[in-house]
């Protein structure tokens, strides 16, 4: 199971829960599992096969460059964050 922190703007879908555990070996699978448990999640964080514009996901504190295709381990911690760039 992966641990997903639910951003404040999505807690209406999770009944106010800010942290949930769902199965998945990739970010895409975790999003799918979230959507099954809390319908509507996928529409907010994803755009087809991609993450939604401006949305990044971190796995264990590291921004997942592969996005939905990034691997997820048992016990991994996922967060949805705004995209960041460096100059």
């Amino acid at each position: 199971m992966a641990i997903v922190y639910i951003p404040p703007l999505m807690r209406d879908l999770t009944g106010g829960r800010d942290k949930v555990s769902v199965p998945g070996n990739t970010v895409a699978q975790v999003i799918q599992a979230l959507d099954t448990a809390y319908p509507g999640v996928k529409a907010r964080v994803a755009d087809g096969d991609h993450l939604a514009p401006g949305v990044a996901v971190s796995v264990d504190g590291v921004i997942a460059r592969l996005g939905p295709r990034a691997p997820v381990k048992a016990g991994s911690v996922l967060r949805f964050l705004p995209v960041i760039e460096g100059g």
């Binding site: 951003p7 509507g40 087809g48 514009p53 401006g54 967060r79 760039e85 460096g86 100059g87």
Partner: protein
Amino acid sequence: MNAQEQKPFAVVGERLPRYDGADKVTGKAIFGPDVALPGMCYGFILRSPHAHARILSSDTSRAEALPGVYAVVTAADLPPAESADHRYARDNTFASDKVLYVGHAVAAVAARTPAIAEQAARLIAVEYDVLPAVTDVLAAMRDDAPILHDDMRTHSLAGHGDKPSNVASHFQHLKGDPARGFAEADVIVEREFHTATVHQGYIESHATVATWSDDGAPSNGALTIYTTTQGSFSVRDHVVWLLDLPMSNVRVVPTEVGGAFGGKNTSYLDVPAALLARKARRPVKITMPRPDVFLATGPSSGAVFRVKMGATRDGRITAAQAELYYAAGAYPGSPVGSGANVMFGPYVIPNGQIDGYDVVTNGPRVSSYRAPGGTPANFAAETLIDELAEKLGLDPLEFRLRNHAREGDERLDGGTHGHIGGIEVLQAAQTCAHYTAPLTGPNRGRGVAHTAWGNWGGRSSCALNVNGDGTVNLVTSSVDLSGTRTTIAMQAAEALQLPPERIKPSVGDTDNTGYADVSAGSRTTYATGIAAIQAAEDVIAQMRARAAALWDVPVESVAYARGVFASGADLRFTFAELAEQVTGSGGSVGSIANVDVAEWGAGFSTHIADVEVDPETGKVTLLRYTVVQDVGQAVNPAMVEGQMQGGATQGIGWALYEGYAYNEKGQMLNANFLDYKIPTALDVPLIETVIVEVPYPQHPYGVRGVGEPPIVPPPGAIANAIYRAAGIRPDHLPMTPAHLLEKLGVIES
């Protein structure tokens, strides 16, 4: 620890001259605009005179008929878009249905001379239906604002908007209970801030030369691009994405770069030059005129902030709240995310909320600028921090210390602080020569500001090849913006235990090096340095194995120290002797290390500014300026000081001078270096530097990123100094004389 007795490094920490220094002072260094190929012709890009207009028709026939013209290209020459992001990138290369800013590229011409190319471009007849334009971020959010993208709906994790909007996205960070936090506060301060769009202002314009090999098996037409960029692979990725080519067939050769600061993370000319070169069947060079650099590249976001902070009487912050509105320019992607991270970044905020909005406006699509989004956010937050300290009767550095984050503290974005040196920076500022010196005289004041900036790691590659004479060639794919060849080679020399003159570093191209991310995010000396150290360690391991084989001893018995391989009492090779042996038989030794450095940590910087404000003219004179910064471990202190001074000066420009001026039609009024004023030698004092070294545990030598943090605090430090000098709190950037005179009540707004 006594540094004299226990100097940990032989090379790292020394003030070595730069490997590229001689070429830079003799004019031999080849920058982007210096590249010329045999048979080359010249490109010119036709740009929109309107900030917002529908393209009704476009006729290129007169341009094509002009003698000396070899090719004309438009959006029709680009493969179709496959996603929203792809369409934005495609449309920003050449407008298809609408132009969204003055300077938006519409078509390009290649011709025998630059003059013919420009003349031909002017013969392209484009018919526009001019639409109302909006350049101000708040105006762009109004219900009656002209809509840039009919299909854009606000994206938010709370759900998508249901009608067209210029707000591309909204995000929120939330921690604790802000309402409760403000209820616990004894003092609450609240302000709104407006900051202008600014440009990176590199002195070298953009320039690209593109050339194709003619089609022929097995590689079906290969493209080579020479360009000034922060990332050769990023240019390759962009060109491959927009022209649908195999990665292997696009070779990008980076030139020397004449300043970039994030503005050369983005590719502007490469696709137009490639399209022209393919059609013209000869190399094409495009150099961007300076006005176009202002109109069509960079800049950084203009922004609006609404910020509120509360603290208890004993000086503890109880709550903080901020709304950030960033203008993205024509397409989404402002640095509002990193602005939010900078906002209250250094401090423990028990109850906090940040809302960020990415808003499209009729300006060039913003690009990164040194600590993207951080500088204006810090101005807003550090003004309120100063105001809280003042209302609580606390020294401003002491107030920051009482609330400073430590390792393990949770950030507002949900992450956790790693090993950071922010407290050490504030303490060094408290005791430095500047802060402890008295400031006297009328209309004078001293201000401070402090920031955190999350430097980046990312992908880097470094190759080492050992030559038969014991010298070593080092090749990285990280473009060298201001001396990273030297700082990377110094780390390799340290790891190889060789004098730096035995290492010869260079920057490779995309055909002959491993992948690297852009040289940006203060990551190059840090992450590419790690690659260099790994490659060096592998070289030594290989050399030990080769020595063991030559001596017929177990490899574990071969030791390496200070340039000498030894086994037992008798067996001994210097690095050069062994290099001669191994290249003479059995094949030479080399290694390439490809890394993806995930770990990164925040750098901290505190700035101290003394100013004098002329109450009659509103002119601000900087009397003294000091930058204090944690750099982990300075690889080359002279270059570290240069980063601190240069970053601070850019921040000073942002604070006092720089800003895009638009008229009501959305046309930029100051697209030149006369009217867009960047600091000159007369505008800044000598800038004092205090290097703090709290070694960063994720780098073998403790190195941290250096380049970005120093641009962040200047507006806050100067604003707070102005308050102490003149009793007014500026809330606009730039803090022009007119703004200060309004605040002083001398003139009306």
